[in-house]
């Protein structure tokens, strides 16, 4: 615990912490953007959904560490952490968004159509609020998972300025106190990210 509270005095502490958080956010934003766009496409077109379904299943089933090692052969370590995070986060978000879109109340959509509500107001009045609770719940879980995967990729590929890199160097030099302190920091960051999403959800989804 003492090590944990003095970690901030370490050289490159903030660079390591914020670069890992930055990579996590970048992965998450990419996963989210691809997930929502492709889920909308899949919801509108059955052939597209059938085409994407096996790809997403393969991505979901692929062992994380194996993906890290395979990608390590093709790209620099820093970029690789982002790509791995995306490959893990995207299928989860995509599947959740597809399910949420399929569960939008069809009667509400019919009602809007009968009352001649324009398509944009149907999207923002019915579709978006209907999927928002799922979007937040999926985001909360995926953000934590993405952080874990990014750190794992950083550990395995020895990214110097990163949480994973710090954990790796603590492990290499058998400094167990440091190892535990950096691990605890990763848990705290994950916890803070989850709380952040929960707070935003509470502010936005006021009707639940």
């Amino acid at each position: 615990m003492e090590r944990f509270f003095t970690l901030w005095q370490e050289k490159n502490f903030y660079n390591s912490l914020f670069l890992t958080i930055g990579r996590t956010f970048l992965c998450f934003v990419l996963s989210f953007a691809f997930g929502i766009v492709l889920a909308v496409v899949a919801n509108m077109s059955k052939p597209c959904e059938k085409f994407l379904s096996p790809i997403v299943s393969v991505l979901r089933a692929a062992p994380t560490v194996a993906v890290i090692y395979i990608l390590y052969a093709f790209m620099p370590a820093k970029k690789m952490a982002i790509v791995v995070g995306f490959l893990i986060g995207f299928p989860i978000l995509y599947s959740q968004f597809v399910t949420a879109l399929s569960e939008v109340d069809k009667n509400l959509v019919t009602m809007a159509k009968i009352y001649k509500v324009p398509i944009l107001r149907r999207i923002f009045g019915i579709y978006v609020p209907s999927i928002l609770p799922t979007v937040f719940d999926a985001s909360r879980a995926t953000l934590s998972l993405t952080l874990k995967v990014v750190i794992a990729a950083e550990i395995l590929t020895l990214v110097p300025l990163s949480l994973g890199g710090k954990i790796q160097s603590a492990y290499s030099s058998f400094e167990i106190a440091y190892l535990l302190a950096w691990t605890l920091l990763a848990i705290v960051v994950s916890f803070v990210l989850e709380i952040m999403v929960s707070v935003i959800k509470k502010a936005v989804v006021r009707w639940k």
């Binding site: 009602m111 001649k116 509500v117």
Partner: protein, 224 residues
């Protein structure tokens, strides 16, 4: 309102084949057994499903079996949602919404979300939304189904009061004969792709009782 040569198919199943019907003014009830195509007929009039043929209804408002309110919008916003394209002036629109909510006794609940309302309140919001929408015809798909007796009586009398203040043609479907004879001016008994019988109730709604129209009830029973 006229329906001419209506044909509707669900996959291989033909629900209507060159079906025509002239619906008179006033409150019309489409009565029939489950699965005979009552709701499909309403959806054809509302143009809510693909069909061939001609329907001469212009704009319609619709009350579903369930209140069909948007959970993320307050009562006030739910009613206003359908009016935005029809009434561009915000002040005028707000006034219409407040007036109708006042009429259905929900002015205090205007900031509530649908999840905070009882079943009866939610159905009153659906009535308010349908009656404030500037339509030629109001369609209702078993709107009183699932309500308990007291609530049903209150909603029926609220419906009649709104109908008298906002006069327009009403077409509603039900399989409840009592509901049909208490409300409708005209009753069509429907079976698959055909009208089995037509009944006219000339007595004003407020004077009607199930016993005063027992002869019509018996004739309808005989047809079903």
């Amino acid at each position: 309102m006229k329906l001419n040569n209506i044909s509707v198919k669900y996959g291989d199943k033909t629900v209507y084949d060159n079906f025509s019907l002239e619906i008179p003014k006033g409150i019309t009830c489409i009565l029939g057994a489950s699965g005979c195509g009552k709701t499909t007929l309403l959806n054809v009039i509302a143009r809510a499903l693909p069909f061939s043929g001609k329907v001469d209804a212009q704009s319609v408002s619709y009350i579903f079996q369930s209140p069909t309110l948007i959970p993320s919008m307050t009562v006030e916003k739910n009613v206003e949602y359908v009016l935005k394209e029809q009434i561009k002036d915000k002040k005028k629109r707000k006034k219409i919404v407040f007036d109708i909510l006042d009429k259905v006794g929900l002015e205090k609940e205007k900031k509530n979300f649908p999840g905070e309302l009882s079943g009866g309140m939610a159905q009153r919001v659906a009535l308010a939304r349908a009656f404030c929408y500037p339509s030629d015809c109001l369609l209702m798909d078993e709107p009183f189904k699932g309500l308990d007796v007291t609530l049903k009586k209150n909603i029926l009398s609220l419906f009649l009061s709104l109908y008298r203040q906002n006069n327009r043609d009403v077409v509603f479907v039900t399989h409840d004969i009592d509901e049909a004879i208490l409300l409708a001016d005209n009753i069509f008994v429907l079976t698959n792709n055909a009208v089995l019988g037509t009944f006219n109730c000339n007595i004003p709604q407020e004077e009607r009782t199930v016993t005063s129209l027992s002869d019509i009830k018996e004739q309808i029973y005989a047809l079903l």
